[in-house]
């Protein structure tokens, strides 16, 4: 205990410092706003430092079970008693998965903070922005530091909230609010919430089935459980949750729209936090998920990887290309878990985090330099004006494409080899492998299309012609991320599954495809050898389909909101007409009876006296008759 307390302090610092920054900023309100950028950034820096310290110390090693637990814990619902819910105790815990990912999360989050200091300099609401960013960082760190599905879900949802807040940040700008940002934020929140609620239900099912929500205990119990229907249902719901968070087909629609948020926020969502959650959930639950669910995950992932790649090919917007590429890469990770490689999925998440953050921050640099011009048609020729940004984009794009010696190569090769290994089974696994390889081939094409259209050729707008690179606040994060995009594969400590039979072939095939893709992109967009328009014509209607994102957005927009609105109107109509009408009807009946009797009461005193007389007459006659009868 003596030596574990400093370690506990380090571990606690990772989420607690950004959380404290958040709290200070929220309580400080407007007074804290001027200090907000540096307060949040220094908290993120210290948090990243703590993450590296923990990473280097590796306190979980040597502990039986491989989980380091913090000295504090409290019963979330109950301290004791009840029907088992007292067993849900909140505590800090650290294992190889969290340990491996924390440095990436901390570093990227810190660099995004740093970049934001410049990027948001003119923003009128720095307080809420940096508060949201800090809470985002804290939630992600917190999510990694719990090993119970319930608390995992708590932080999972908090991230959903933060991303909603930050995507919609510009819609609250007092001088020039952007309503689209609010719409995009709502779409993101609701789409992921569909998955979240599925996850919640899945959690309920698992709790009832296993009597625990601890990942370790679930993994231990799940191995022998086979695949009873309830586990299939629970696992399926879990997968659905992960699909929502990680923007997997068909719940992917929110991520491209989320580009409405400020660019550093996109970097945050795409690299370090939000979308990573779904993959981490799948990795953590891979041990108890039944095979059917894993197979479904692999198919969904591969399908998403391929489909998002095709859309990225034709996107006309710098950030949208990156967004679709994220969806595609997340597809790789999901598929990796499905084909039995959670380690590979995490590895790819790790390397992807660095170079995707680099790409987004580079895009942010371009947007900043070109005064918020981000359509590929209006950029071009930025290579000489923004050398640092160009190098960063080039290296990160190469890493993303899986070119050799870069970090992306190692992680993608691991996934591809596993897929290739499984393809021998035929059927769906083979389809998965095929789709993944096609997607891997698409990656360099769309990435380098973006690089060439942005940085090479002629500048196609005045903004692009007059662009110039910004201060060190922009360049430093880019430089760091460029280096990390190269070397990040070297400091990965989680075991990656090996597929010795296919490793060699996957590497060769992957490299060939990547190089071929780069060359193809060069021929299309760098050297005027091939005509992109002719290419588009060659694929005919498929190009159109990809441009319209395979029509899923249109389909959803045409079904769910009108359906729900219709339902709302119907219920409202029933409520105000039928139900309330019934109540009113009863009331009116009583009223009608009342007004019938009211006719007798006209306020003439003497009529009342007359009625008294009549009553007396009636009484005496009745008594008289009764007397006769008696």
């Amino acid at each position: 205990m003596m030596e574990s307390l400093p370690m506990a302090a380090w571990v606690l610092a990772i989420p607690a410092l950004p959380a404290a920054a958040w709290l200070l900023l929220v309580l400080g309100g407007r007074r804290a706003a001027p200090a907000a950028p540096w307060l949040a950034t220094s908290a993120a820096a210290l948090s990243a430092l703590a993450a590296w310290v923990v990473f280097l110390e590796r306190p979980w090693e040597g502990i039986p079970g491989g989980i380091w637990e913090g000295p504090w814990s409290w019963g979330f619902f109950l301290s004791s008693g009840g029907d088992g819910i007292a067993g849900l105790r909140a505590t800090l815990s650290l294992d190889a998965i969290s340990g491996a990912l924390l440095p990436m999360v901390g570093t990227v989050a810190f660099l995004v903070h740093l970049f934001s200091v410049r990027y948001m300099r003119t923003d009128p609401r720095p307080g809420p922005y940096f508060a949201g960013l800090a809470l985002f960082t804290a939630s992600m760190a917190g999510m990694l530091l719990v090993e119970n599905l319930l608390f995992f879900f708590v932080f999972w949802e908090l991230m959903g909230f933060c991303s909603w807040l930050l995507i919609g940040h510009d819609s609250l700008n007092p001088s020039s609010p952007r309503p689209e940002a609010a719409r995009a934020a709502r779409k993101a929140f609701l789409t992921t919430r569909v998955g979240d609620l599925a996850l919640l239900l899945g959690m309920v099912v698992l709790w009832k089935g296993f009597g625990t929500l601890s990942f370790t205990e679930l993994a231990a119990a799940g191995g022998s459980a086979g695949s009873p229907p309830w586990l299939l249902a629970g696992g399926g719901l879990l997968l659905l949750g992960a699909m929502g968070k990680s923007a997997q087909f068909p719940l992917h629609v929110w991520l491209p729209d989320a580009m409405e948020g400020p660019t550093p926020v996109s970097a945050m969502i795409h690299a370090a936090t939000m979308v990573a959650a779904g993959v981490i959930l799948l990795v953590r639950s891979a041990a108890f998920l039944p095979d059917e669910i894993l197979l479904a995950a692999s198919v969904v992932g591969a399908l998403t990887a391929f489909f998002a790649g095709t859309v990225a090919l034709v996107s006309a917007d710098l950030k949208k290309v990156l967004a679709w590429s994220t969806i595609s890469q997340l597809g790789f990770m999901t598929a990796a878990v499905g084909v039995g490689g959670p380690g590979a999925a995490l590895f790819h998440l790790h390397t992807h985090g660095f170079f995707k953050a680099g790409l987004f921050l580079a895009a942010g640099s371009v947007i900043l330099a070109c005064h918020h011009r981000q359509d590929l048609g209006g950029l071009g020729g930025l290579r000489r004006r923004m050398p640092m940004t160009w190098v960063a984009t080039l290296v990160c794009a190469a890493a993303l494409s899986g070119l050799p010696w870069l970090s992306g190569f190692h992680s993608k090769e691991a996934i591809l080899s596993l897929a290739l290994d499984g393809a021998a089974l035929g059927g769906l696994p083979a389809l998965t492998a095929c789709l993944l390889f096609v997607a891997a081939a698409l990656t360099p094409v769309y990435m380098f299309r973006m690089v060439f259209l942005t940085f090479h050729g002629e500048a196609r707008s005045t903004e692009a012609r007059e662009a110039s690179e910004d201060s060190w606040l922009v360049r430093l994060p880019l430089a760091v991320l460029t280096v990390l995009a190269v070397v990040s594969a070297r400091f990965w400590l989680f075991p990656v599954e090996e597929a010795p039979a296919s490793e060699h072939w996957a590497g060769v095939l992957g490299t060939t495809l990547a190089l071929g893709g780069v060359i193809l992109a060069g021929l299309l967009f760098l050297l005027p050898v091939l005509s992109p328009a002719a290419f588009a014509r060659f694929f005919g209607p498929l190009t159109g389909l990809a441009r319209e994102r395979w029509k899923f957005d249109a389909l959803y927009a045409a079904t769910f909101p009108p359906l729900f609105r219709l339902g709302g109107r119907a219920v409202d109509g029933i409520d105000s007409r039928l139900v309330d009408g019934l109540a009113h009807g009863i009331g009116r009946m009583a009223e009608a009876g009342g007004s019938a009797f009211r006719k007798l009461h006209r306020g003439r005193i003497q009529t009342y006296a007359l009625l008294t007389l009549a009553g007396l007459l009636l009484l005496s006659v009745t008594l008289l008759l009764q007397g006769e009868a008696g």
Partner: protein
């Protein structure tokens, strides 16, 4: 004399009073009618008391009826005066704001 005789007298007094309340077109007449009704009931009390051979409860009740009648007359007349000064009329038909049409 039998009890019935007194009861008949009381009944006649009451019917006369009620008829007055119901028919006369002046609030003062209405009040006079009410006095008749009260008298009739007091007479009934005393007559029953006498013929049931009891104590004096009936007489006491009649006494209280007289007291109530005094109070009623004082207040009633005050109201009539007030009504006359505010509306300029003491016809019962002119006072019907409690009715709804």
């Amino acid at each position: 004399m039998s009890l019935v005789a007194y009861l008949v007298v009381a009944a006649l007094l009451m019917v006369a009073g009620l008829a007055m309340v119901a028919s006369r077109r002046s609030l003062i007449h209405v009040l006079i009618g009410l006095e008749l009704v009260l008298n009739a009931s007091a007479l009934n009390f005393v007559a029953f008391d006498r013929y049931s051979g009891g104590g004096q409860e009936g007489q006491l009740a009649a006494l209280f009826v007289i007291v109530v009648a005094a109070a009623e007359a004082a207040l009633g007349l005050a109201i009539v005066l007030h009504a006359y000064s505010s509306k300029g009329s003491i016809r019962p038909d002119d006072f019907r704001s409690l009715g709804d049409s």
